[in-house]
């Protein structure tokens, strides 16, 4: 348990011991289970087949101790793909001190483990009823950066102001997080190499504005920087180095077996817009990431730094046809490198599959509420490229289909 999480636990203990709270705690929760039909490519599984490898369970507590001080926490169990264990983890556990509170201005700080307020959906990306479908749009909220972005051990300073122009919300975040899976390794190397990307330093801010003149419009901009290094990387003796050089002379794409250093610095710029018109909700987000890979070493020999620009965007429409039914459609694209959109350069350089470097998808779906708490969501997506597949399973990346279909049914409950 790191220091900020220990601190928030201490604050919570102190707050409870005073007994001076004004409100009772409230509890909420959710559970979901998906059935995935993916016969062309593996999806949350090792092989192209049907699977049930997507399941979420969350329990949330919220407690207003005083007008200014609030405690909140969420335990989350998420099974997503054959790699992930579903052991429960603390998704957030925080103390919220709302130190300035007036009719038109509110400002405060949240300390502990906090959700990362990135874009429109990141903070609730694992909450079934808060998503516009089975998933948050994968072009912007892709799986391989999920752990780096989902939460921060540290803090967030927030400010919200209402004026004649509109409502302005600003969040500043600083802290670190830990990656438990090998998704980043699979994203970069398409295999689990020696060493791991574990500790991530994160900093950023988000600005959201709702103009008074058009209250159904929300505009947002998020800037984030995430930095991570390959830890516990392989080391080689001079003799092993020599043997490694011989192998690489014959097949340079074997370099993934000899990586001794790798640093990733990702700077993200995310533009968001959402407009509500009667029963319709239109959403679009555009993500640009400048990815700098530095301190690259193969067999302890430094390599040149590399830069790439990732781009993802989606356009989405939701129609809330009735109290029970909603329908949605989304078109989205993701390119891991905008200067190598079809991934051919990546394939030549690394021996990896070019298809993993981009994705284009058209998704149609429907959600039906059996009761206000129970819902079933079904969606079909037609995909080109395999960037949405990478990272969650031990897949044979050499034999992926370029064009593939995916059908998912998801049952969810919340209270």
């Amino acid at each position: 348990m790191n220091r900020s999480l220990q601190l928030s636990t201490l604050f919570i203990g102190l707050a409870l011991s005073t007994g001076a709270w004004s409100d009772k705690p409230t509890f909420n929760g959710f559970v979901s289970q998906a059935a995935i039909i993916s016969n062309d490519n593996p999806f949350y599984d090792d092989e192209p087949d049907n699977n049930f490898n997507l399941r979420e369970i969350g329990l949330t507590a919220n407690w207003n101790l005083t007008k200014e001080i609030r405690l909140a926490g969420q335990a989350l169990s998420r099974k997503a793909g054959s790699f992930n264990s579903s052991s429960p983890e603390i998704d957030f556990l925080l103390v919220d001190y709302n130190f300035w509170l007036s009719e038109h201005l509110s400002s405060g700080v949240r300390l502990g483990r906090v959700k990362n307020p990135y874009g429109l959906y990141n903070a609730t990306r694992d909450v079934p009823h808060a998503r516009p479908g089975v998933f948050v749009p994968r072009s912007v909220y892709f799986e391989s950066f999920r752990e780096a972005l989902q939460r921060i051990d540290g803090g967030t300073v927030y400010l919200s102001n209402t004026s004649n122009l509109g409502d302005l919300n600003i969040d500043l975040s600083l802290g670190s997080t830990t990656i438990e899976t090998t998704t980043v390794e699979y994203q970069v190397f398409q295999k689990d190499i020696v060493g791991e990307f574990k500790d991530v330093d994160v900093e950023g801010f988000k600005i959201e504005f709702v103009p008074t003149a058009v209250r159904d419009l929300t505009l947002g901009f998020t800037w984030y920087n995430a930095e991570m290094a390959l830890q516990d990387a392989a080391t080689f003796t001079p003799l092993e180095q020599f043997a490694g050089f011989m192998v690489l002379l014959g097949d340079p794409t074997q370099f993934t077996n000899y990586v001794t250093g790798f640093n990733i610095d990702a700077e993200m710029n995310l533009f968001s817009a959402q407009y509500s018109w009667n029963q319709w909700l239109f959403t679009g987000e555009l993500l640009n990431i400048d990815i700098n890979t530095t301190d690259i070493e193969v067999l302890h020999i430094p390599e040149n730094d590399r830069q790439a620009k990732l781009r993802g965007y989606y356009l989405q429409s939701e129609w809330f046809a009735s109290q029970r039914w909603s329908l949605y459609g989304r078109y989205e694209e993701l390119f891991n490198n905008v200067d190598d959109k079809d991934g051919i350069g990546f394939a030549q350089r690394t021996g990896g599959n070019a298809l993993t470097q981009y994705a284009k998808a058209f998704t149609l779906g429907a959600r039906y509420y059996l009761t206000p708490d129970w819902s079933i969501t079904g969606e079909f997506s037609n995909n080109e490229g395999a960037a949405f597949i990478a990272g969650t399973d031990d897949i044979d990346y050499s034999s992926l289909e370029k064009r593939w279909q995916l059908f998912i049914l998801q049952m969810s409950y919340h209270f």
Binding site: K115, T124, F320
Partner: protein
């Protein structure tokens, strides 16, 4: 502020009720939206706002959201989900009936709620805005 407020109409429709001591507060649509989105958390004297709602599947709730907040129920649902499941806020307290709503709002300082106007006969006149 009565001319800006959701007034008590002649036919049955949702009407805002509030604690008797809040008559001078701002109950304009903009203010109501911010209160029900849980963004405005204190009144002009910085005392806490306590927000009550009827069940989501009740007709009065749907009419209140559409008619007085000028929003769709799904928008408010998403806002509340985002608050509670991201750890950034609290959601209103749900009451089960108009009778409970009237009693809770009457007895809880700083509180606000809504009922169908056909129940206004049972409500203290200081608890709602009357058309001039």
């Amino acid at each position: 502020m009565a001319w800006l407020s959701p007034l008590a109409p002649a036919c049955a429709s949702p009407v805002v009720i509030h604690h008797p001591q809040l008559a001078s507060e701002d109950f304009s649509t903009t203010s109501l939206v911010r209160i029900y989105a849980m963004q405005k958390r204190v009144w002009s004297d910085r005392s806490s706002i306590k927000v009550f709602t009827l069940p989501k599947d009740s007709g009065t709730h749907k009419e209140f959201v559409k008619g007085l907040l000028l929003m769709q129920p799904y928008q408010l649902d998403r806002l509340w989900h985002r608050l509670v499941f991201s750890g950034t806020g609290s959601t209103p307290e749900e009451v089960s009936s108009p009778e409970e709503m009237i009693e809770k709002v009457r007895s809880t300082p700083g509180s606000i709620g809504y009922i169908d106007s056909k129940f206004l006969g049972a409500v203290d006149q200081r608890m709602y805005e009357v058309a001039q």
